[in-house]
Amino acid sequence: MGGGSTDIKLIDEKGIRLDGRRVDQLRPIKIEAGVLKNADGSAYVEWGKNKVLAAVYGPREAHPRHIQDPTRAVVDVIYNMCSFSVEERVRPGPGRRSVEISKVIADAFRNVIFTEQFPRAKIDVYIEILQANAGTRCAGVVAASVALADAGVPMMDLVPACAAGKANNQLILDLGKEEDNVGQADLPTAIVPKTGEIVLLQMDGHLTQDEFDRALQMSMNACMQIYELQKDALRRRYATSANDAPDTEEVRQ
């Protein structure tokens, strides 16, 4: 968020941003499911210049045994940035930031996964940021939820995520790196499309109540677009697994 210096021009008079996007436009997103053979489920997401790989293992026996919960599965998320993911080398291993992001993402998924179906088990979700360019926690959530679905983990819904924010006194969707660094606010959001529940919401910077409401609406609308991309990625993954006969329309009496 830097010092919020507004003298750098991020949006021109026509409302076009540095990377040529409109204020309410997402960066191009590409999602692919089932990219890793050894993981139980996996997904790869390219979101603008972000490149994120997610792998899911489990539900499997939880070790050490004292972490087991006799009533439900333990969900563990590890968000990790590769040392080469940003311009300056990242010191490998968990840091203050990655531990926080791991925690908020794990909390988000505990709300949608039917953990009570797997007592004593553990579900491991690994999110590797191969290349970062602002918005990696959202890209991580998007990738992880596709990977969880690919692993056959029962859950209420897929979880799309997107950020909105403010730069040059204007609300913008899906902040890029420059906008994140010198902008005035960043609002990453993850929702459950089925119920409209918010499972992840963080805010960095300042927004008025009115701006907050509008920014939230923007990111929730964008989440619905991303939701379709997630479902499409899963459909493509399983369309090749042979058992996909042409869809018969549901018969309603």
Partner: protein
């Protein structure tokens, strides 16, 4: 009336709760049934059950599963087996993997002593007969039993010799309940 089949994703609406009963792979919320996994939906029009068969189901032990495991403990009237794999799946097993095998279910014949049929560390193939409250397995059929035995003295793999297993290292034979296809499977 034909049963309906189609591909669904987690969160897809399947039917109204009044119409169908929630089967595996689905959940009910506010009077509607939704899919909880990516898979093929099956609406059973006769039984009125909506279920989703996942494309990539987690490996959960079920009664009737054929499993591979190792003997982890021998007791006076039973052997404990740590299940390592369900035959036909590649995924790690979800949940409890410690199974017990009672003497009476080890072989189709009478077994005097557990040590006459299994020794510690043997690899066995067995069938699951109970999952909860504890996992119970049986080996009283030709297909089940030891698929790889380890010599109780030197721990090296033993070869099949007649109805016994023979350790070439110690030049001695031991008795086992041998499965059909001994040592042809890993």
């Amino acid at each position: 009336m034909d049963n309906v089949e189609r591909t669904v994703m987690p969160g897809d609406e399947i039917a109204a709760a009044e119409e169908y009963v929630c089967g595996p792979g689905t959940y009910e919320l506010e009077g509607k049934i939704f899919a909880s996994v990516a898979g093929r939906l099956r609406l059973d029009l006769r039984e009125k059950v909506a279920e989703v068969k996942p494309f990539n189901p987690p490996a959960q032990l079920k009664s009737g599963d054929i499993v591979i495991g190792t003997v982890s403990a021998i007791r006076s009237s039973m052997a404990e087996v740590e299940i390592s794999e369900i035959e036909g799946t590649e995924r790690g097993i979800t949940g409890d993997v410690d199974a017990s095998l009672h003497v009476s279910k080890m072989s189709s014949r009478y077994v005097e002593d557990v040590r006459d049929v299994y020794r510690l560390g043997d690899y066995v193939r067995a069938r699951v007969v109970q999952v909860s409250p504890s996992v119970q397995i049986v080996t009283d059929a030709d297909d089940f039993g030891v698929i790889k035995a380890l010599c109780s003295q030197c721990r090296s793999a033993m070869v099949l010799k007649g109805r016994d297993v023979y350790c070439e290292n110690c030049e001695r034979a031991e008795r086992r309940k041998i499965a059909r296809g001994y040592s042809t499977v890993e």
